[in-house]
Symmetry: C2
Subunit: 198 residues, 2 copies
C-alpha cells in the first residue's frame, strides 16, 4: 500500500461525509460535487494527489470513460501534462476508423455496453493512467484495462476517487497485478449508520 497524502484524504472523506447521501440499494450519491455538479477545485487537489502517487511513472496518457470520469481526468491531466482519452459508449456518425473495443456492464443502467477508443489515440509507447470516479464491481475499470491490453500500451495503474472496498472490484484488479490508488476507501455504509472509511 502506498503512502497517502493525509491532508488530501481528509478533504475528500470530509466532503463525502458532509455532502454524500447513502440511499437504498448500496447507492452513494455524490452528485452535488463529483458526478453531476462538479467541484473542479476539488479535482485539482485530487489530481495533485494522483500525480504525487504516480510521480516518476512516466504517465503520458490518461484514459477514462464517459461521462463521470471526464471532468476529474481533464483537470488531473493538467498535473501530469498529458492528454486525456475518454472511452466512448456509442459510435456516432463523426467517428470513423478502427477502434479498440471491450464490453462493460453498467449497474446504474443495467445494460452491457461496448466501449470504444480509437486506435489512433492509444497504442504502443503510451504509459497509461486510468482515472474514474467509482470502483465497486470493477466492471468499467476491467473494460478499460482490456482496452489498454489490446492496444499494446503499458498500464501504469488506476486513480480512483471512491472505492467501495467491500465490493470485489479492487481485489479483482489488484490480483491481476494492477496498481489501484483510491483516494477515499469506504469500508461499509448504510442509510442509518452512515459511511465508515477504511
Amino acid at each position: 500500500m502506498s503512502d497517502r497524502g493525509y491532508g488530501y484524504i481528509i478533504l475528500l472523506e470530509e466532503r463525502i461525509r458532509r455532502d454524500g447521501i447513502v440511499k437504498k440499494g448500496d447507492i452513494l450519491k455524490v452528485d452535488s460535487f463529483l458526478n453531476h455538479q462538479m467541484d473542479c477545485a476539488l479535482f485539482v487537489e485530487m489530481g495533485k494527489e494522483w500525480a504525487r502517487l504516480y510521480a516518476d511513472c512516466g504517465v503520458n496518457k490518461i484514459l477514462t470513460i464517459e461521462a463521470s470520469g471526464i471532468g476529474m481526468a481533464s483537470v488531473a491531466a493538467l498535473e501530469f501534462g498529458c492528454p486525456v482519452v475518454f472511452a466512448k459508449k456509442s459510435l456516432s456518425s463523426n467517428m470513423s476508423g478502427d477502434f479498440w473495443e471491450s464490453s462493460v456492464h453498467s449497474y446504474t443502467h443495467n445494460v452491457d455496453r461496448t466501449v470504444l477508443v480509437s486506435k489512433e489515440f492509444l497504442g504502443k509507447g503510451d504509459r497509461v493512467l486510468i482515472i474514474d470516479d467509482f470502483l465497486a464491481t470493477g466492471s468499467a475499470l476491467l473494460g478499460l484495462v482490456e482496452l489498454v491490453r489490446q492496444s499494446g500500451a503499458e498500464l501504469v495503474g488506476c486513480g480512483i476517487a471512491i472505492e467501495k472496498v467491500y465490493q470485489e472490484g479492487g481485489s479483482t484488479l489488484r490480483s491481476k497485478g494492477v496498481r489501484v490508488e483510491s483516494l477515499a476507501r469506504i469500508a461499509s455504509m448504510d442509510e442509518e449508520g452512515g459511511i465508515v472509511f477504511c
Copy 2:
C-alpha cells in the same frame, strides 16, 4: 461583436488547420485534441479567453452537456472559480428527485434525446455560462438554454469552441438575445478546399 484575444484565436485556428480533418457530410473531425483525445492545456487557454470575454458577468455556474463538453467546461471552471453542471442524456438508477428536462436532437446519432439537470443544481440565483464544443444547428445549445429558462436562473451567455457560422444555430441563438462567443468561427469548409475561418 466582442473584442477577442488575437493570440488565442490563432492558437485554436492553427490547431484546427493542423489537426482537424474535413470529411464528407459536413463533418469536422477534431477528435485528436478536442473531443475524444483532449489537449487539456489547450482547454486552459480556451478557459482564459472565455473568462476574459465574460469578466465581470458574475458567472457562478457553468452548464454543459455530456460527453464532449465536460472536459473543456471543467478546465474552464478553474478560471471562473465556480462549479460545472453537466446535463445528462439518460436517467440512471442512482439519480433521483426532480429534473429540468428538454429535448435535443443529436445529428451525430440521429435521435431525439431528453436531457436532464437535477433541480438541486440549477435554479434562481445562478448566473450561468453554457459551454460546449460545437455550435452548428444549435439543437444542443437551445436545449441547454431551455433548461436554464425553466430553472429561473440567469443566462449570461454561451462559450463555444467551434462555430460553423454557415449553419443556422448561431443566428438563431443571437436573434433570441443570447450572447454567443465562439473561439473559432468557420465560414466554410470542404474536403478539397480546407477550412476558411471568418
